[in-house]
Each structure stands twice: as structure tokens, then as C-alpha cells.
Symmetry: C2
Subunit: 152 residues, 2 copies
Amino acid sequence: MHTSHAADPIALLREAGLRVTDSRVAVIAALADLPHSGVDAVMGAVSRTLPQTSRQAIHNVLTDLTHAGIARRIEPAGHPGLYELRVGDNHHHIVCQRCGAVADVDCVTGHAPCLTPSTTSGFDLTEAEVTFWGVCSACKAAQAEPAGASAS
Amino acid sequence: MHTSHAADPIALLREAGLRVTDSRVAVIAALADLPHSGVDAVMGAVSRTLPQTSRQAIHNVLTDLTHAGIARRIEPAGHPGLYELRVGDNHHHIVCQRCGAVADVDCVTGHAPCLTPSTTSGFDLTEAEVTFWGVCSACKAAQAEPAGASAS
DNA sequence: ACTTTCTTTTGACGGCGTCAAAAGAAATGG
DNA sequence: CCATTTCTTTTGACGCCGTCAAAAGAAAGT
């Protein structure tokens, strides 16, 4: 009866009042395995166990999970949407400008909205989203070794 | 009446080594007039003086200006790209979750990258992008008066 | 088991942006 | 002043990503 730990898909779904289906369990498992996955990556992972699953179903499930508060969608500029299960801890992201890889960054202050703008221009503030941009270690290595390296 | 501080489209283009064409001058004028404009808005503004201008030309010009450092492109999640002339002052934005309106927010610390993540996961950090989300005053007013309101 | 409700499949569609080829306009050199 | 090179703009097609909508299928309530 305690609120569940990260990776019990069935409990997460039940608590959210969503039906427990194979697709949803598989999508949650995929996100637990590969955070910051897009529809394609989730599709690939789900297809290994449920090969008939449609792309639209992946979209549906990810949208449902997001609305239910189980998943969170991020959308770095110039990239398709990505999903992760870490929710409600107000963390941020660092995105590689070369390959688009994403890593988590713990919030600087620890609680939302974590920043206060100097002037709000009459807006009611809901949240502050911080995206760091940089170059990941893999891309740094690829740049340092121009040729001959085993790249992925 | 204008001080040199205001953007002079022709000077900006010359300094960047770009040819001075009607389209480019018109796009810069449009952005000076309406910051945070998308391709559609710029197109509408430019069409008033250069009605034959193609949408692709707007894309080209905006991309050229961005690469030249004259304009900056922002891309709030779920919205098409927006452009502004304010460049290099490391300011941020607040976006209305209802209507997508964007306002500028001066940087909290005043200089890039303005924030340092606690853990960089091996990334070389380039910049920190902060997007505030909230509800603009117009949408707040619209919500307060559910029916019979005059034109927005 | 029957009916209602929710989920998934299937196919089409739309926004937004890019690519590429051809036509047009500005700078350069004779 | 004309010819050449270079850059800009037009035109049309295409692709990615996501949404919409209708029909088929599976789960829950009585």
C-alpha cells in the first residue's frame, strides 16, 4: 500500500487508474531500461516482446502515461519528443549538440520552480525548465580521433 | 529620432557580410517590430511591403540571419520556431501555456552560462537555456470572464 | 454471457521544416 | 558595357513527427 518504487509497471498503472495491458507494461519497462527514449526507441524495445504493436499504440500509451503523471515528455529544440519515468523531482537535462544524447541533471536548488525570473511580464509562473547544452564524452572522443576509431 | 542603439538592418547585414536585399531588410524590420515571431508572422509582416515573397525565402533569410548571429531562434516545446533580434545577452523566456505568447526575461545572473549543473555526466557545457512556463495576463483575464467578453 | 467502456489497429491527414533544381538579381572582371 | 561568377529567391517536392478518426478488438461490470 506504500506508493511504489520506480519500476513496478503494474502497480504504477493501477494507482493511476489505467488498465493493465501488455503494451503499457512493455512501454514502462522500456522507459525504465532506456530513459530519454523517443517513440522509435520505445517501439524498438517493445517490438522485441510484442512485435505486432503499432506505432500509434506507442504514441497512445506514452501520451496516456504522461497525462497520468507516470511519464514525462521533454522536447529538446530540434529533436523529437523524449520520455522518461522520473517525474516530480524537478530535475533537468543536458543535451548533446552533436548527437542529441540526453543525461539527467539534478536540480540546482532541489524544488520547483527552482528559479524565479526577475520580471514575469504579468505571467503567472508555473515552472522553470532548464536545458543545458554541450558535447557528450562520446562525441568529444570522436572529434579527438578523426579516423580509425570504432564508432557506434 | 532613432539612436544608433536601435538595429539598423542594412548595417547589420553589411557587418555580417550578407548582401543587402529587400527581403532581408524587411525580415529584420519585422523582427524589430514583433519579437518572438514565427515564419507565419514574419511572412505576414513582410507581405505587406513585398507581397510576392515566398515562404521559403522567409525560411532562408531567418536561417541566414541566425547563422550570422543577427537573429536567434527559440523553440518552445510544442510550438514552431520563433525568432528574435536580441542576441548575445543571454536572456531567457517565459511562455504562456495557453496561447504560446512569449516574453523576455532578463538573465538571473547576467552572463552565460548563468547556471552550472551539479553533475555534467562528462559533457562539455556550452550554455544553459531557461524557459519559464506560465499563463499570460490576457489568458488569465479570458479565464476570469468565461463568457460575453469583448474582443481579445 | 451480455453490454459498456477502454484500448489498439489502420489509414489518412496536417504542420513545420528541409532539399534540390531552375530562374533571377547583384557583384566582379574584361 | 557585356560576360562571368556568385549569391539570392522561387517553385515544387519530400520527409519527419505527430494527430485525428473510424473500425476492430480486449477488458471490466452486471
